[in-house]
């Protein structure tokens, strides 16, 4: 990266060898992953959800979501016109559930990116540099690990105000410590290998060691962890939205459950309003967990030994 200016033929060759090797490794992982039934089922469900989320503007006419233009009776049971019934203002629950997938998945991904970037940066820095910087970084990590998530998220979200980006930020900033610990342990393991010592002896700087040697070796674990974190992030979004901290202008599965519960859907037994968003959450979180565990079984050396 920093030395892109002086590209020598020999170096490009070395790099292309490295990339070929990485592509082969990825192909091996995929071949092994495909043998896991759990992982494949999870992957299929995920693809279905992502396709729905992307296509939802086409599938659902935005007018259907406008409270003032709703055509159905409030809280009516499923019928031919409304296959999943209506909400408290007469909108189709099916349309809401389809549209809700967008915010839930978007917030899930945004929060995960943030969480993984912070967690990996902390973990690699702590593992690579050691000494007092490691103590300080791990002290901060432990603090975030021990502070109860939801009270912290509530305080942050109330102060920042409800919006989609703020919710993603709050989830991201509270969910990274687990990643940091995991990545630190892996960095320490990689650091003790002889080729790092060789690179250092040849004069490689910290940046070179981290980007060329540590990161590629830690990356598989980061990836498996990322998939598991998306599941947690989607659940967290649901919880925060249920507590009324989500973006008031956007429909998400959590905000649907919030309005269902606060308008008394539970006491009149309006199951059609409560079940669809909940089942959607369970399915997508389950799918992410299944993919993450299957990936972990392939990529985590410690788990691989067990089989």
């Amino acid at each position: 990266m920093a030395d892109a200016g002086d590209v020598l033929p020999a170096r490009t060759q070395v790099r292309s060898i490295a990339w070929t090797r990485r592509r082969q490794a990825a192909a091996r992982v995929w071949a092994e992953y495909r043998r896991s039934r759990m992982g494949m089922v999870g992957l299929v469900i995920l693809v279905l959800f992502v396709v729905t989320a992307v296509l939802s503007p086409v599938l659902v006419d935005p007018g259907q979501l406008d409270v003032t233009k709703a055509t159905g009776l409030p809280m009516s049971a499923p019928s031919a016109e409304f296959p999943l019934g209506t909400d408290e203002s007469g909108r189709s629950v099916l349309a809401l559930t389809l549209v809700g997938s967008r915010v839930s998945i978007l917030v899930g991904f945004l929060a995960t990116i943030m969480s993984v970037v912070i967690g990996s940066a902390f973990g690699i820095a702590a593992g690579h540099f050691g000494g007092w910087s490691e103590s300080v970084l791990m002290r901060v990590t432990d603090w975030f690990l021990v502070i109860p998530f939801l009270p912290l998220a509530i305080v942050l979200a109330t102060i920042l105000g409800p919006s989609l980006l703020n919710i993603a930020f709050v989830i991201g900033i509270t969910s990274w410590p687990g990643t940091a610990r995991l990545i630190r342990a892996q960095t320490l393991a990689v650091k003790s290998r002889p080729y790092i010592e060789r690179a250092r002896a040849l004069g490689a700087g910290n940046w070179h060691q981290i980007t060329r040697h540590i990161l590629p070796n830690v990356f598989p674990l980061i990836f498996a962890n990322t998939v598991l974190i998306v599941a947690v992030a989607i659940l967290s979004e649901t919880t925060l939205a249920f507590l009324g901290l989500g973006d008031p202008l956007q429909v998400s599965w959590g905000s649907m459950l919030d309005s269902a519960f606060s308008t008394g859907a539970a006491s009149i037994g309006a199951w059609w309003y409560l079940l669809p968003p909940g089942i959607a959450i369970v399915l997508i979180v389950l799918a992410f967990t299944m993919c993450g565990q299957a990936l972990e079984a392939v990529l985590n050396p410690r788990l691989r030994e067990r089989q």
Binding site: I147, I154, L274
Partner: protein, 344 residues
């Protein structure tokens, strides 16, 4: 058999205490630092936004002018930051957390009234979810691949994927409100029925009936993770050589499991139970909201819907302090049970 039992028993005994003082002092210093960090964080949290924090916190909301002024005073605006900080620390440490907007009472008194219902709910459900989760995990790992194992794995993963408040709402409909011709079996909310004297035999039964559904929800929501972790750490142990040795010397399977594998596999799970306290607190907030259980969780919800900042800060401080102290105890207990952590 009796001799085997007698010989195996010392396994669980607390072994030598070398390295204990150093370990304990390191952990206590860590916990104190965490608490101090919470204090500082809480102080700056309400001051990071540019401009007047009192106005920022009340923007777009109808707040009487006197409340804005009270807020400005409580922030000590106009005084230097260091003076604001020292007065904040002094007030907080002496238990003065400000006045709640909603209840118009000192925050510390509002909180004190709500602690015990939460302790009762979390205590009972933590114990139940730990015990049941561990038993399921042990059985699943021991009979790996059996119908029980596959079934419990599927149920655990599904429970783990559920938002706990959604599970709560479903149970509320099924057993509280009633479905179709089935009447609700349990009360739908609150701590006790109106007009019941709590400290009587009937009153305790009444509270227990109210406790049942929220407690069931939290137990189901949390036992899944314990079952999954116990299963995987027992599977790790079962690959170890010492278990082969134990079997080779002729011990019965049940004994190998009970005396050798489980005690070792318990250690990581025990850490998790305490690390999870932070998440259990989160569960309390949503479940108490669903069942109108009058504890700290419902109080947080009321505070955030108002929004009542002094109360919100107070609850946050208390939850954080509680979890930090509980983790400190867990570390102590852990070091008594497993001498290896002291040298690490």
């Amino acid at each position: 058999m009796a001799t085997a039992t007698a010989r195996a028993r010392p396994r669980l005994r607390v072994r030598g205490l070398s390295g204990m003082p150093r370990y304990v002092s390191a952990k206590v210093v860590g916990a104190v630092l965490s608490l101090a960090f919470v204090l500082v964080f809480n102080f700056f949290l309400f001051r990071v936004l540019p401009g007047d924090p009192a106005k920022n916190l009340t923007r777009n909301r109808l707040v009487p002018a006197e409340q804005v002024q009270a807020l400005q005073e409580s922030f000590g605006l106009g005084k230097p930051l260091s003076a604001q900080f020292t007065s904040y620390v002094r007030d907080t440490l002496s238990g003065d957390l400000g006045i709640s907007y909603k209840f118009r009472q000192p925050v510390s008194r509002v909180i004190a009234d709500r602690i015990w219902p939460t302790v009762l709910l979390l205590g009972v459900s933590t114990i139940l979810s730990t015990v049941i989760g561990l038993l399921i995990g042990i059985r699943g790992a021991w009979r790996r691949g059996s119908l029980f194992d596959r079934g419990s794995l599927a149920v655990s993963l599904t429970l783990y994927a559920m938002p706990e408040f959604w599970l709560g709402i479903l149970l509320l409909i099924a057993f509280g409100v009633g479905v179709g011709a089935f009447p609700g079996l349990f009360p739908t909310g609150g701590l006790s029925s109106a007009g019941t004297e709590i400290w009587s035999l009937g009153g305790i039964g009444d509270v227990a009936r109210h406790l049942f559904l929220p407690c069931l929800t939290l137990t189901l929501a949390y036992l899944a993770e314990y079952a999954l972790v116990m299963r995987s750490s027992l599977l790790d142990e079962m690959g170890q050589d010492y278990l082969v040795t134990a079997r080779a010397k002729g011990l019965r399977d049940a004994l190998v499991l009970r005396r050798h594998a489980v005690p070792n596999a318990l250690l990581p799970t025990a850490t998790l139970v305490f690390l999870n306290l932070g998440f259990i607190v989160s569960g309390a907030i949503t479940i108490e909201t669903v069942y109108s259980w009058p504890g700290l969780g419902l109080l947080s919800y009321e505070a955030l819907r108002t929004p009542d900042y002094p109360l919100l800060q107070g609850v946050f401080l208390l939850f954080s302090a509680g979890v930090i102290v509980a983790n400190l105890f867990a570390d102590m207990l852990y070091s008594l049970l497993d001498p290896r952590v002291r040298s690490g």
